[in-house]
């Protein structure tokens, strides 16, 4: 007798029509293509897991942000935050769009120079600038944002040695109504430290004070904090003009706009809660225009937006390694990318989708990475379709901080490709090999051999 076609046995809880906590359908539609390129074909060629960046998404997002600000304010400049993603291809897309560079270390500074960014268009932030870094930056006419008094005095000394006038701004920290306060960096506004630092700079005669900077935090979901920050910097600018007759050239409000990722534990998805570029722009530009700064002296507005400009353009695609049941019966799916590659899984409930159409059935699932550690959880609880070994997934919005904070732990870091605006694929960072890693090691002569 002819046997019948088999289908896996399935039982499903009936909650059809009942919305999930997000009020949206639980069914996860597959994402099979990025910019019309099949994800599967990319993995066939470049391996799994694979980071995929969309150049057109980067450009579209940048243009959207630039439009939001430049349609409200006469003089707007973005500076690409290198730490957010310093792959040269990514940086250069932003530079082509008109972004300057924002760096926080000698390494990032050199990377920007090597990319061809003119020294005077590099903003040098952060608490870690060596004397050598400072000299180089001063000689190149870069914009040095002073973080603390020790650095201020270093700069004053160097400027006397090398007879160049450093171009400086100070970083200001302040209470913007968001807690915990980011008061580790820069000079405090409320206790008068920032004003004190500005007066010392004005008094030194050797430095050109050209700007005021703040970076109030990251993944900010409130535009009000930016209104407060812009007002406080405007207040300092007005005070400088009043007391010293000095007009600053720019106000830099740093980065921090939330991307559309969902924070761990958040009730609503980030796609619903993140303010738009227009919302942030409205708060910031209104505060500056309504301040006491004279209209003829309105400074350039600089933004160092990181995650909100790049998160959306990044994808991490890969393969399911196995499924198992935990002791409490819950389903666990193990994938080939863990927190080593997806550092942001510590903060975000990343959106993960199958790339092929699969069964309608879903189950509450934990998604683990391949590392032999308990912390390697990509999603701790997701209603997920029953992918089997060898099926493929794609994780969305991974463009920010992963390609800079990833770890070479247990395994090597994979290829990164960029899809250009014509859908052509470019390998922009090669997968590491055993050789890459071993090249950096030096084994002492007496440890080169052994008998087992």
């Amino acid at each position: 007798m002819e046997k019948l076609a088999f289908e896996r046995p399935i039982i499903q809880r009936i909650n059809a029509g009942l919305p999930s906590k997000h009020g949206i359908s639980r069914k996860l539609e597959p994402i099979s293509h990025i910019d019309e390129v099949p994800i599967k074909s990319l993995m066939d060629e470049y391996g799994s897991p694979l980071f995929i960046l969309s150049e057109s998404t980067i450009r579209k997002t940048y243009k959207e942000a630039y439009r939001a600000f430049s349609s409200r304010y006469p003089n707007v400049q973005f500076a690409w935050s290198y730490k957010t993603n310093y792959l040269n291809a990514v940086c250069n897309v932003f530079h082509q769009e008109g972004s300057w560079a924002e760096v926080v270390s000698g390494f990032e500074y050199d990377k920007a120079i090597a990319n061809g960014v003119p020294g005077e268009l590099i903003i040098f932030n952060g608490p870690d600038k060596s004397r050598e870094d400072l000299k180089k930056a001063i000689n190149n006419g870069s914009l040095i944002h002073i973080d603390h008094f020790d650095e201020l005095y270093d700069i004053i000394h160097i400027s006397k040695e090398i007879k160049e006038r450093p171009k400086v701004a100070i970083r200001v920290n302040m209470d913007v109504g968001v807690y915990p306060k980011w008061d580790r960096f820069g000079f405090n506004f409320e206790n008068g430290e920032a004003w004190d630092a500005l007066n010392r700079i004005m008094g030194s005669k050797n430095l050109d004070l050209i700007g005021l900077h703040t970076h109030i935090g990251t993944y900010m979901m409130t535009t009000e904090a930016y209104r407060v920050a812009a007002s406080k910097l405007a207040h300092l600018a007005v005070s400088l003009e009043r007391k010293h007759g000095h007009v600053i050239q720019y106000i830099d409000l740093g980065g921090g706009f939330a991307s559309k990722n969902t924070l761990r534990g958040a009730y609503y998805p980030g796609t619903d809660t993140a303010p738009s570029f227009d919302d942030f722009a409205e708060a910031i530009t209104t505060a500056l225009m309504n301040s006491e700064i004279k209209p003829s002296h309105l400074p350039m507005l600089i933004l160092e937006t990181g995650r909100a400009l790049i998160d959306e353009a990044g994808y991490l695609a890969g393969t399911v390694l196995a499924n198992k049941r935990l002791s409490d019966g819950r389903r666990a799916t193990i994938i080939d990318a863990g927190v080593n590659l997806l550092f942001t899984a510590f903060w975000y409930e990343h959106e993960i989708r199958p790339i092929e159409p699969i069964s309608e059935q879903t189950e509450d699932t934990i998604i683990y990475g391949p590392l032999c550690m308990n912390i390697d959880v990509v999603r701790s609880n997701i209603t997920f379709p029953l992918l089997k070994k060898g099926d493929h997934y794609v994780i969305r919005r991974v463009g920010a901080y992963n390609n800079t904070q990833w770890l070479q732990f247990i395994n090597m870091r994979p290829n990164i490709v960029m899809l250009d605006v014509d859908g052509k694929t470019h390998l922009i960072r090669k997968a590491e090999t055993l050789e890459t890693i071993n090249n950096q090691e030096v084994t002492p002569e007496h440890l080169r051999s052994f008998n087992l």
């Binding site: 046997k3 076609a5 088999f6 289908e7 046995p9 399935i10 009936i14 389903r331 959880v377």
Partner: protein
């Protein structure tokens, strides 16, 4: 934080264990399942329904496997995996009597 449970295969599919659907669970011929204790309802696909009925009629794992293998185009390993997963889901939905090892 949840720990890996490395000995993933439990006693469910061991031949000796009798699987039992909880007493008051209602199962219709169309594959609709209702648990009066929790008020929850479930739906089965045809093979799921067939397996549940085999369990209800007192068949053990080995007997059920034989019935399915004889009737459908499926190899033993694939069936074994799906069967195991199906039973785990039943357990998770609290539809099985807690079994004792015998």
């Amino acid at each position: 934080m949840v720990k890996f449970n490395c000995s993933s295969k439990s006693a469910i599919t061991s031949f000796k264990v009798m699987l039992k659907i909880r007493k008051n669970i209602a199962i219709s011929d169309s594959g609709f399942v209702f648990d009066p204790m929790s008020g929850e309802s479930f739906s089965l696909n045809p093979i799921g329904l067939e397996i549940i009925q085999l369990i209800k009629n007192g068949n053990n794992f080995k007997e059920i496997t034989k019935v399915i293998l004889d009737k459908y185009q499926v190899d033993e390993e694939t069936l074994d995996r799906y069967f195991y997963d199906f039973i785990s889901t039943l357990k998770q939905f609290n539809l099985l009597e807690s079994t004792s090892h015998g």
